[in-house]
């Protein structure tokens, strides 16, 4: 699947992740699945990582609920989440895979491992025959 994210939203995520570093930062993404097959992210939510560590994140469920309601009020579809890896590459960890339980979601991971060179990738994670399979999706900053 091809996914688009606005440059301003990318910048917002990056700035927030830098501010939160070394802790992981996280949030949700929303937008629409267009008829041409493109998943367009039109709104990014920055939410609290209630774990406040550099190795784990948990999105505050109360903020998650409020964000979902905001999406609905704005006619947007929940598309998945994003989180940062302050010290590791932009790929799902074993824990990311274990806790990815929505096969319709896109999982965006921003790596801050290399200073000044943020790397953002999107992944589809699905459980097939009891095993989590990961597929990298095409992510375009527009």
């Amino acid at each position: 699947m091809r996914i688009t994210i606005k440059q301003t939203d990318f910048d917002m995520i990056y700035e927030h992740a830098l501010k939160e570093s070394p802790d992981e930062a996280c949030g949700l993404i929303a937008g629409e699945d267009r008829e041409d097959g493109v998943r367009e992210i039109s709104r990014v939510y920055i939410l609290e990582n209630i774990d406040h560590t550099n190795e784990h994140f948990t999105i505050d469920p109360k903020e998650q609920l409020a964000a979902i309601k905001d999406m609905r009020a704005c006619g947007l579809k929940p598309l998945g989440n994003w989180h940062s890896h302050p010290e590791s590459p932009s790929r799902p960890s074993e824990e990311d895979k274990r806790l990815a339980n929505d096969s319709k979601a896109s999982y965006l991971i921003l790596s801050l491992m290399e200073e000044g060179k943020p790397v953002l990738n999107a992944f589809h994670i699905e459980s097939i025959n009891g095993e989590k399979t990961v597929r990298k999706e095409e992510l375009v900053i527009v």
């Binding site: 996280c26 190795e55 989440n81 302050p86 824990e95 806790l99 990815a100």
Partner: protein, 69 residues
Amino acid sequence: MKITVAGEKKEVADGLTVAALIEQENVETPEYVTVSVNEEFIDKEVFDCHVLKEGDEVEFLYFMGGGAR
């Protein structure tokens, strides 16, 4: 009775529990789903006995978390 599930109004049977609604809605990987009713989070332990009422607003939320390792 009428309730709202994920923003959509639905007619459901009287006496429906949260657990029965999860099954009825074919919620994917229900063990990882958090449920709120009227913005109050419901403990998983009481999904079987929490009976929904007319006008309830129910949301299913996937636990969103992960780790760097």
